[in-house]
Symmetry: C2
Subunit: 352 residues, 2 copies
């Protein structure tokens, strides 16, 4: 097969982890006789430095004409600590989500027995944890009207949802819950006792639930969900939630895996799909060849699956599991005996 892939290296450790994914893709191409062509686009602090714009239109065009997008990470501390900055790297990520209508961010939460010791939770609380979070990505308070008084005396953000925005991701999550390998349970996380938007979420999910009679639906307030993810994570199968709550609980849930550096995500919508590790730009580690490339490589596995290459994805996952169980791991996993980012990339592509 021939596939054209948009590559956005982004900020911080984004470039170095994405490079490892590209090595793996090249190895997959060689082994299975595919042809992957790459086209690079700018986004984030990197794009601001080079063009003044956190998401140049050219990047969007590159993405639109690609079969999939592989993205690294975004963000730089010089913007974080300046609350008055006019242009910020994150605007690039928010805009690409909106422009490409990437309305669902999908994050599988898995645990690896060989990494249980890294997780602050007791191992018995981790066995059997296997859930997937569907986070709405193009609505809510991230994209609502923002205001700030000239004199700095007040500010506001508004959170809006339409029935359609909720329906489309809810259908996606319900379909997913019906898959043979899932446990047919969907948990909506909201704050319906306080927020009008949450009540709309609850109403819409209640309305469409009868179309999926084999799926059991649970409703959970976000404050309770933040506890339950730690207290009893096994209870979750498919979790559905709005943008801001999803940002918080999916990062929280990443703790269960033992390292943020391991988790992949896919952002799907009406057009080209974007794949990215859930970790951020981790600027302290940038350029040191110590970042964990597994989150990016597993995002690449999700991408291969999405491109219809199931065998290929399986092999990449097998290679990843082999490195983890052979203790070929980066510094975040083993601060004493660790391998470099680039070495892990080499090992995984050699395995493939």
């Amino acid at each position: 097969m021939q596939k054209h892939i948009a590559v956005i290296l982004g900020d911080g450790i984004g470039p170095e982890v994405t490079q490892q994914s590209l090595k793996v893709l090249d190895a997959v191409a060689e082994k299975f006789g595919h042809e992957f062509s790459y086209e690079y686009g700018l986004m984030g602090a990197d794009a601001i430095d080079k063009t003044g714009n956190p998401l140049p239109d050219e990047t969007l065009e590159i993405c639109r004409r690609s079969d999939a997008i592989l993205f690294g990470a975004i963000g730089h501390p010089k913007y974080d600590n300046d609350p008055t900055a006019k242009v910020r790297p994150e605007q690039g990520l928010l805009r690409i989500r909106k422009e490409l209508q990437l309305y669902a961010n999908i994050r599988p939460i898995n645990t690896y027995a060989s990494l249980h010791h890294l997780c602050p939770l007791k191992p018995q609380n981790l066995e059997g944890v296997d859930f997937i979070i569907f986070r709405e990505l193009t609505g809510g308070i991230y994209f609502g009207n923002k205001q700030k008084a000239e004199d700095g005396s007040s500010a506001s953000d508004s959170c809006t949802y339409t029935r359609e925005e909720i329906e489309r991701i809810a259908h996606l999550a319900f379909h997913f819950a019906q898959k043979p390998e899932r446990r047919k349970k969907l948990t909506l996380v909201d704050k319906a006792n306080v927020l009008e938007t949450s009540r709309l979420w609850r109403k819409v999910v209640q309305d469409i639930a009868p179309q999926y009679p084999d799926v059991t639906v649970d409703y959970m307030f976000v404050d309770n969900a933040a506890m339950q993810i730690i207290l009893n994570p096994k209870q979750f199968d498919v979790v559905l939630t709005e943008n801001m709550f999803g940002d918080i609980i999916s990062d929280e849930a990443s703790v269960l895996s033992g390292s943020l550096g391991l988790l992949p995500s896919a952002s799907v919508g009406t057009g080209t799909v974007l794949f990215e590790p859930i970790h951020g730009s981790y600027p302290q580690a940038a350029g040191k060849d110590i970042a964990n490339p597994i989150g990016s490589i597993l995002s690449t596995a999700l991408m291969l699956e999405y491109l219809g290459m199931n065998e290929e994805a399986k092999l990449v996952r097998k290679a990843v599991e082999w490195t983890l169980s052979s203790k070929f791991v980066t510094k975040d996993i083993d601060p004493l005996n660790y391998y470099f980012t680039s070495t892990i990339g080499d090992l995984i592509s050699d395995f493939v």
Copy 2:
């Protein structure tokens, strides 16, 4: 001393846990020669059932003429699962917060060595955990303008903060961080890379920080904070955050203590202060005499301190620690060998 206390029993397990606190107060009064008078007010589902109003004006008047307010819990499932209900119990709690300008909810997060086994975290991650969350309670998305389209096609909530709203709670938190027993560190939790209101929070905290030169200030995005609370809770001393984020991370942090049933809180503002356990109405347990009264009793200890009765508060805490270490505990702590709510209340008041 003579003190007049407004008592709001509320919903679910609210009444039975609060009754134990009243027993303890009576014992304290007898031992130390104080006189506590109680005046009861309605709020929540209980108030809706009896008056149609989740917070009758009379309750507010009772609160205003009291020296402190002791509150149980709020909420009932019949409202939670009806997204179209016009009147809801929580409106009572939100209104009392607003009317009495209870702008800061203060939640200490402690761990008890004797309860480490109950916490899903490994014990070594719990040692030395001791922080306190200052959650803004009368602003943000909880109190912003809410809208919903007649035809159910959309809904919105708006989140607004003024500089004054942020300043008053920030000063409170900075002062607290300066206390001799604290570690002089304040962490602002926000989402300044996305929200305009968060950028205002960050700006205001940056502006007033120089007035507290002995306090180190840290800024953390809420998604990262949701991870750090589990990964490395020892790093926190005083945490400051807005209303919605505070709701989520303070419930999450409660997991560290081993049981939600143990944690107290105080809501302070410009007038009478309100004390309540952080647990909710837990309707499944209501009326069964199995709920944990410690959250309420420790809230009562906070209240005694606030009323200037430090010795008394200390004794109540000592009594609580004695029951926990003697394994006189409720069902949430030990499902096999447990004591009733009322028995724990008796034991603690006898000890006093």
